[in-house]
């Protein structure tokens, strides 16, 4: 396939693999966090760890929008469908996230909640147009990549005078989450997570640009390499991180120059700031309350804000006690460190959010990597 296979070429992968092996110092370890679920997925799906030296370890970060969605937010969406009789439009990934009372959006659907899977917010707008006598709510999740389309949809709904469309806004921000990890006691004080650098997001960075990461590089002395989501991108980024670490540098480098510029997509940024403003605080699964880490709909667009329209009160719900998603999302623990991984918690019956999305650290390890836990013999 043109322009995709080129970034999955096994021969080039071998060359980069050899270059990494050649450059790593045998006397030290390299711990890099890929922030994005997209990278986690690529690493697992293409078997990238097999091409890395034993002292280079990839830590899966919290950049999976499904994984960081707290139970309380899913509960709100379920209430809209079951109690308010709204048509709830959602991306498929959120359907199986476990919520309170043994429910999930999929189980709420089986209880006759009108919950519809959509591929884009424009599908939700169409559903609202086609069902003028029903309330239609779009469950908006995601990082900076999915935020501009939601902003466009809200503006479109206003322009069309759609009276039955609103958005349950759960859009979150990447830089605040990275900062939260760097500020966490494990990283700062205890040093239990010796992070040597970050692979920065691909698609998010096309919107926000590479500049927002400069602060981390400078303030926390952590190299950042922004990389595309193809496996060769990831390999190249790892090589660039190894070089920075070896040279004692901590700068923002851009591997994904084919799509990311320093300033990002200014038009999209303006659209977002027209419709959204910062939330004072937002609960992340695994990270807890993170200040100024999410967006809410501006007062000027309040009629499209489902939280206001339906007077929703957010109730935080603690995770299952045995679930280690929090520590896994912060990179403190591996999926296999969790007692319920693979026995109680599986992709079919996820207890924690990391097992729900294919971009989650636990689901990725379960689906693609669990053979490593019990090596097979020929």
């Amino acid at each position: 396939m043109k322009y995709v296979d080129e970034f999955r070429d096994g021969a080039i992968a071998k060359r980069i693999s050899a270059a990494i092996a050649n450059q790593v110092r045998p006397d030290r370890r390299y711990n890099f966090m890929e922030f994005c679920g997209g990278h986690t997925h690529a690493i697992s799906r293409y078997g990238v760890p097999d091409l890395l030296p034993a002292n280079v370890r990839m830590i899966h970060g919290p950049g999976c929008p499904v994984c960081v969605l707290p139970i309380g937010r899913i509960d709100l969406a379920i209430r809209l469908a079951l109690e308010q009789g709204a048509i709830l439009c959602t991306y498929a990934d959120t359907l199986r996230i476990p919520a309170s009372g043994g429910l999930s959006l999929m189980k709420a659907k089986a209880r006759r909640g009108d919950i519809r899977m959509v591929y884009a917010v424009t599908d939700a707008l169409k559903i609202a147009r086609d069902n003028p006598d029903k309330e239609v709510v779009f469950f908006a999740i995601g990082f900076e990549t999915t935020t501009p389309p939601t902003a466009v949809a809200i503006r479109q709904a206003r322009a069309e005078g759609l009276k039955n469309f609103s958005v349950l806004c759960c859009h979150v921000l990447t830089p605040s989450a990275i900062m939260n990890i760097l500020e966490s006691p494990e990283v700062r004080e205890l040093g239990t997570v010796p992070l040597d650098g970050f692979i920065g997001p691909a698609h998010v960075s096309t919107v926000i640009g590479s500049r927002p990461y400069e602060f981390f590089a400078e303030e926390y002395r952590k190299p950042v390499v922004i990389a595309g989501f193809e496996p060769l991108d990831v390999m190249q980024a790892i090589l660039m991180l190894v070089r920075q670490v070896n040279e004692g540098r901590a700068t923002v480098e851009n591997e994904f120059t084919r799509a990311v510029t320093p300033e990002g997509n200014v038009k999209a940024q303006n659209l977002v700031s027209e419709v959204f403003e910062l939330r004072r605080s937002f609960e992340w699964r695994g990270l807890g309350e993170v200040p100024y880490s999410a967006l809410k709909i501006r007062a000027g667009f309040a009629e499209f804000d489902a939280e206001q329209r339906f007077h929703l009160e957010y109730q935080p719900v603690p995770d299952n006690k045995a679930c280690e998603c929090g520590a896994i999302l912060r990179g403190v623990k591996n999926p296999t460190d969790c007692k319920i991984f693979g026995n109680v918690c599986t992709p079919e019956n996820p207890m924690g959010s990391c097992m729900v999305s294919s971009e989650g650290a636990c689901a990725a390890h379960y689906t693609y990597g669990r053979y490593k836990d019990v090596e097979a013999t020929e």
């Binding site: 995709v4 693999s17 097999d50 379960y366 693609y368």
Partner: protein, 350 residues
């Protein structure tokens, strides 16, 4: 499907503008008319013509193999096929990959009130064509009608019957370490054809469903002299699900070579766009065969000699593994598991 109505006493079915109504399932004259003028007209044969509550069939050669399958595909008409031929192929293939010769089908129709008779006629004609090509006869049937909103046009359940010659035994629990794994052609075509229609994706060359009856191919393979241990058609859940089933049944592992698995470029492109993995996507005209390594080339040659097996390939081998994992060497050079699909990737694909 029984009963005949004296000709000339009923107004013919309006096959152009008519629609299914509740009386078509009511057991009265309208139902008999629908059966006679539509179903029996296209699907009729000596067994259906017996007109009794059940078909009485002659004894056959070997053991009886029975399989049943319900079809709820949406949309009903898709690039490369429709629910009619699909409902024949799906069941014929299940019988054929057992090693049996499929001979008879039964069909149950659940029709939704308001469904256009013209569309129903197209579907029944397509079933008749498919059955004819596969050399099977539809020997019994049933029609029910549900109120508007309680169905989605038409659902079809077919049951297939065939005979398995004495001495032939294919089963999912017969794979052994060292055996070769073959696939008869490119994977993911059916699921992607349906998804691209649902999502209005268009490609330079439209992706067609691979829906086809495999009994001709299986007959050739069995005649090739290769010792086939397992055959299976990878429908829902795709290649990944089918290989995991076999691995578990046989208590072995399977190692695949990604580079050897045939996938059409346009199917790959659509999978990229839709975020799908071709390994998880349904096929309706492909089979997987497992045979002793020494017979692999012979079996591959036999597959490629048949029009439905031209792109056949040896894609991996069976290994010892008490965990029954299916693993794959990626084209990229790494390794990964090929797991069952979690949840529901593509609802109502067949």
């Amino acid at each position: 499907m029984s009963g005949q109505v004296k000709k000339g006493y009923v107004r013919p079915l309006d096959n152009k503008h008519g629609r299914v109504d509740m009386s078509h399932g009511g057991g009265g004259r309208a139902m008999v008319q629908l059966i006679t003028e539509l179903f029996a007209r296209h699907l009729g044969n000596e067994y259906l013509a017996q007109g009794n509550d059940g078909a009485c069939l002659p004894p056959g050669n070997g053991r009886l193999v029975v399989s049943t399958d319900s079809h709820v595909v949406s949309p009903l008409f898709f690039p490369g096929g429709d629910i009619g031929c699909l409902s024949v192929h799906g069941t014929v293939n299940d019988v054929a990959v057992m090693g049996a010769t499929p001979l008879y089908l039964t069909a149950g129709f659940i029709l939704e009130e308001g469904f256009p008779l013209a569309d129903l006629a197209r579907i029944v004609e397509s079933m008749a064509r498919a059955a004819n090509e596969a050399g099977v006869k539809l020997v019994a049937g049933d029609t029910k009608v549900v109120e508007q909103g309680k169905g989605d046009g038409v659902f079809i359940t077919t049951t297939g019957v065939g005979f398995l010659p004495e001495g032939l035994h294919l089963s999912g629990d017969l794979a052994r370490p060292g055996d070769a794994v073959l696939v008869s052609g490119s994977i993911g075509d059916h699921g992607v054809a349906i998804m691209s229609r649902r999502e209005n994706l268009s490609f330079d060359a439209p992706i067609l469903s691979d829906t086809a009856a495999l009994n001709g191919l299986t007959a050739n393979l069995l005649a090739s002299g290769a010792h086939i241990k397992v055959m299976r058609d990878p429908t829902r859940g795709g290649l990944a699900a089918t290989l995991n089933e076999i691995a578990h049944q046989s208590g072995v592992g399977i190692h695949l070579e990604e580079a050897a698995i045939p996938v059409k470029p346009e199917v790959n492109a659509a999978c990229e766009l839709l975020g799908l993995d071709p390994l998880n996507i349904a096929n309706e005209g492909k089979l997987i065969a497992i045979c002793a390594a020494g017979d692999a080339d012979k079996l591959l040659t036999a597959m490629r000699a048949h029009p439905l097996g031209r792109e056949a390939a040896i894609i991996g081998k069976v290994v010892e593994d008490p965990n029954a994992f299916v693993q794959m060497k990626t084209r990229f050079g790494g390794r990964r598991m090929v797991d069952w699909l979690s949840g529901e990737q593509l609802p109502r694909i067949c």
